[in-house]
Symmetry: C2
Subunit: 131 residues, 2 copies
């Protein structure tokens, strides 16, 4: 798959998340997906995303920076949202928070099989600590 | 610059860091380099790296995953080292710590002009908290 096609595929995956179209998640994520070294599988991946949306009803996945070198995608995602309840081990109360995620994805046959994600937890902590 | 040449250039930059060859840092990093949104400049960048080596004498930059799509590089660096003293706001005592950094670099004329870096601070906290 050429660079541009892989980027289109990845954007379709983000669109699927933003639509919370969980019944289509398996079109983009493999059954045996490994997330940060752990084989959580498609069901675990979906459960993680559903939990994220419960905590952050206005969650939106926006790509700020996107590189493709098949079979890999690297993306910087920027979030501007208002979590409610426990998020990254912090108690939040609907504060508006801006933070980023820098993440690598490996694709096989058009589906994500591996994710290495880092979230800017320090930015979240700073935002939650503000009065 | 094609993908492969940019990767070679980036590896030379890592070699420069691992050699602590600070007098050559300006060959790879632009005078007006911006780090995580702040224009720290070459002098500030060098000072940051020198501080890192003071805290972590056995610091070594090893690329675990490297994508190039000029003018951008995305890299997952893995560190296996023993910080001493204050590191990421945590008091360390020579514990051996393994953690990653996921980072994007923009190059102009062969030099790094922009860096977006995230460090896995949670992994460092877990390692330092262990008995």
């Amino acid at each position: 798959m050429p660079n541009s096609a892989l980027k289109v595929r990845y954007q379709q995956y983000l669109d699927c998340l933003n639509a919370q179209a969980w019944e289509r998640l398996g079109d983009f994520v493999a059954q045996a997906v490994v997330y940060n070294g752990e084989c959580i599988g498609l069901a675990g991946y979906r459960a993680m995303l559903e939990r994220d949306y419960q905590t952050i009803p206005d969650l939106r996945f926006v790509s700020d920076l996107l590189l493709a070198e098949p079979p890999w995608i690297a993306c910087r995602l920027v979030f501007d949202c208002s979590p409610r309840g426990s998020f990254l081990g912090l108690e939040t109360h609907g504060e508006r928070i801006t933070f980023s995620e820098q993440v690598f994805y490996r694709f096989e046959q058009g589906k994500i099989v591996q994710v290495q994600s880092l979230i800017d937890e320090a930015a979240v902590r700073r935002a939650v600590a503000q009065p």
